[in-house]
């Protein structure tokens, strides 16, 4: 009984794995859409604290953390969240957005805020 149980378990696992693989298949088109590239530095405050990007296009934001503490670049409205280690740099992908103002901040220091203006 244990043997059959084990084989069934592996069937379960395979089915799930297959599901995951199937989900990953269409990713060959990744990065096909040209993204707007932006840069921002963090030293306890964002420099600059206002970014601009065109509407309807994905955006990549390169965030450089110049402080000695880890920070988390986060935006509720842009649905991004990324931990950036001290003295580290990270790329944050933002999906194409409608025109508007989108706030972001450092989750570990909410006084540091900035805005992405999509127009």
């Amino acid at each position: 009984m244990f043997a059959s149980l084990t084989s069934r378990t592996s069937i379960t696992t395979c089915a799930l794995a297959a599901l995951c693989v199937a989900a990953l298949l269409p990713l060959s088109a990744a990065n096909a859409q040209q993204a707007t590239e932006l840069q921002i530095a963090y030293d306890g405050a964002f420099q600059p604290n206002e970014l601009r990007a065109p509407a309807g296009k994905p955006v990549t934001v390169k965030v450089k953390n110049n402080t000695s503490k880890a920070m988390e670049f986060e935006s509720k409205t842009l649905k991004v969240e990324k931990v950036i280690p001290s003295k580290g740099e990270a790329v944050v992908n933002v999906r194409a957005q409608k025109a508007g103002r989108y706030e972001f901040f450092d989750e570990f220091n909410e006084k540091a805020r900035g805005t992405l203006v999509v127009e």
């Binding site: 069934r8 379960t12 799930l16 599901l19 503490k69 280690p85 580290g88």
Partner: protein, 276 residues
Amino acid sequence: MLAALIIVFREVFEAGLIIGIVLAVTRSVAHRNRWIVGGVLAGVVGACVVAAFAGALSQLFEGMGQELFNAAILTVAVVMLTWHNVWMARHGKEMAGELRAVGQAVAEGSKSLLALAVVVGVAVLREGSEVALFLYGVAASDGGPAMSLFLGGLLGLVLGGAVCLLTYFGLLRIPPRALFTTTTVLITLLAAGMAAQAVSFLERANWLTALGTVVWDTSWLLSEDSILGRTLHTLIGYTDQPTGMQLVIYAAVVLVTSALMRLIGSEPPRHAVAAG
């Protein structure tokens, strides 16, 4: 101090909910504490390791290491939860009815406990690594406010633990027989929600772009960041702006789980379950 309290609590909250559910699910299984505590400890150790290598981790895969790591460990949790559900569909009723020899129940209970211990470990690992990074940063920064920040962090941890206990005792108020059904549904939705979160991480890494359009936006109705929104986010995978792919995967996990449970669990229910 308040900021530290809020940050740590926010991270621990999700893990607390998951641990509370796992504790309730394994209520009648012997030695469960050993496994769950083991899972928590492994998660804490893992979180410290992840925090220590956070820099290296984020550099992997062209800067998308964090996203892919999160997607990977969420996938592990989804597989474990599904395995547990399917396993319980086969053996859970006997265990709940306590019709089995105790020794056998222990041996078999442990198999599913391993899966749940992994889920607990993964939850602690994921939430804990951010706490570890944050607190490490506080410790590394100069003297003064560090003490009060640590105090805040500690309080946040205690409050997160309270969430765990509230979930546990809340679930225990459900009569034993209904508890089995409730937790099965809960774990299925938990797994589906985690799978949808994994999709969201793959989307952020640009590894998954198909069906990437947001299908609806209910942030005006229930924001994902409110307490209720966060609770539902963890429990059933509520997202205020789901993409098409997230919905597809969510539905797929629910369907696959119920199909597997029916397929594997439907072999003759040997005994009628004694009323709890």
